[in-house]
Amino acid sequence: MKGRFGAGALTVATWVIAILFVFPLLWMILTAFKQEADAYTDPPRLFFSPTLDQFAGVLERGFLPYLSNSAFVTVVSTLFVLLLGIPAAYALSLAPVKGTSNALGFFLSTKMLPIVAAIIPLYVISQNTRLLDNVWALIILYTSMNLPLAIWMMRSFFLEVPHEMIEAGRIDGATLPVLLRKIIMPVVAPGVAATALICVIFSWTEFFYSVNLTAARAGTVPVFLVGFITSEGLYWAQLSAAALLASLPVMIVGWIAQNHLVRGLSMGAVK
């Protein structure tokens, strides 16, 4: 409206604001490639000779077992979510019966229950069933944490399957499995994939259950990072490298899924 100059200025302003906003993150990436001595300077040092020492240090500190725990918990719990969630989303969208909205409301309400209110019995139960510091405890909890969200999200994708296609399939004599495989899945597959990515993000970043229910054996990546609070002030560069390594997988997943992120975050309410 103000002509080309105004639009250009606004673009520059947008870029400046965006870079300022993510500056802590850019600084972390920069610090990850510093020697510790370069990380503590006043004023902060922008130019330095980059090194990979900190990444080596993180691996030496025993990062890999935490990484593999995180990967295992995330992948298995996401598979469980799909296994339980796809039939449920189907039942709540394409074959609804009485009580459908109650079930949907119930799933949503579980997201409002503060997790801190359940942690004590979960701890006691885990202790009595030898699930303490065991990846399976996290897998069970992350499945139930993500399932309501996944059902809502996948339901919104299932609802987009044209009704005529299903009816036509039924008239042609297709059974339910055939209907699912030949007609429904091709339409909803991208949505299911997006849902899986959202579940991966939430499982990977989960902190509360992981810190309270796991330790050295089954600890996930956030638990590894907690090890840095005791050594505050001494290992900034290594901490930055660890934070970067721990966040990188989920950052990549998030960038891939960014067009579906809104739908996931709003549980399917916003496309």
């Binding site: 500056f23 009485k98 209110a117 499995p177 998030g254």
Partner: protein, 311 residues
Amino acid sequence: MATLSAPARTEPAHAKKAAPKRGTDTPFKRRLPLLPALLFVVAVTQLPFVLTVFYSFQSWNLVRPGSRHFVGLQNYLDVFADSTFLGALLNTVVLTVICVFFSLLLGLGLAILLDRKFLGRGVVRTLLITPFLILPAAGALLWKTTMFDPTYGLLHNAIGTDVDWLSEFPLAAVMAQVVWQWTPFMMLLILAGLQSQPKDVLEAASVDGAGRWRTFTAITLPHLSRFLQLATLLGAIYIVNSFDAIFLMTQGGPGTASTNLPFYIYQRAFQGFDIGQSSAMGVIVVILTMIVATFALRLMFRTFSVQGGAK
């Protein structure tokens, strides 16, 4: 999938499935695909809470084995007489309200900036969502060290003060980190709202000579209200449970200055080993959440219908 295909595969040739009507299956059979998910979620999310209620009527400290006994409402009386609990309750309210408000405001601003075509828009959007994608634990440690450190921190260099943010303004420091982390979430939801505006209405407003501000307040804001409500509600659900930032940045301190309810319950349970009292706190938190959620939902729907009527 397994539950779906198993029963049907045994009778592939049956003509009954070919019927065009949907009502051929029994109601039970049609509910069957839903049941595994429903039972699983009930078992994992509801049963523990029932146990929390049960524990809350007991005196039970893990440090004193064999001392477990039924005490009725004593835990609840103790909790309400506990000034730290009340302080943590206040901190939780302050943290949630302020963080939701500021991340919503910042998210709105960023979404408006992104709601136009410009060079590198995709890159800027990707940059802006990234604080939400990194591990919250990594974000909290990052702010604690490289941002807030009184000697080498970036804030010290940017503003030039030697303020030790984490001990002088612990709650504000935690809130700054939480706002930074949640702004992208708000931005994405609001951006989706902005982009779903009907283009013809905006053009009509422009043709009628409405200025930008007038168009924004008269058309865009009413259209956005549904998205703002959703963002507020979802943001509040997550932020009220904030634990990572407090655990990693301040440990609730100094003293109890930045202790919120999730952190205090964690402390009583895992450092004080007081199962009975921390369970009572958990029950109180759930009741408060239910009350607030009900009122918030009602209030928001009322606001929505008023604005919708004025449109």
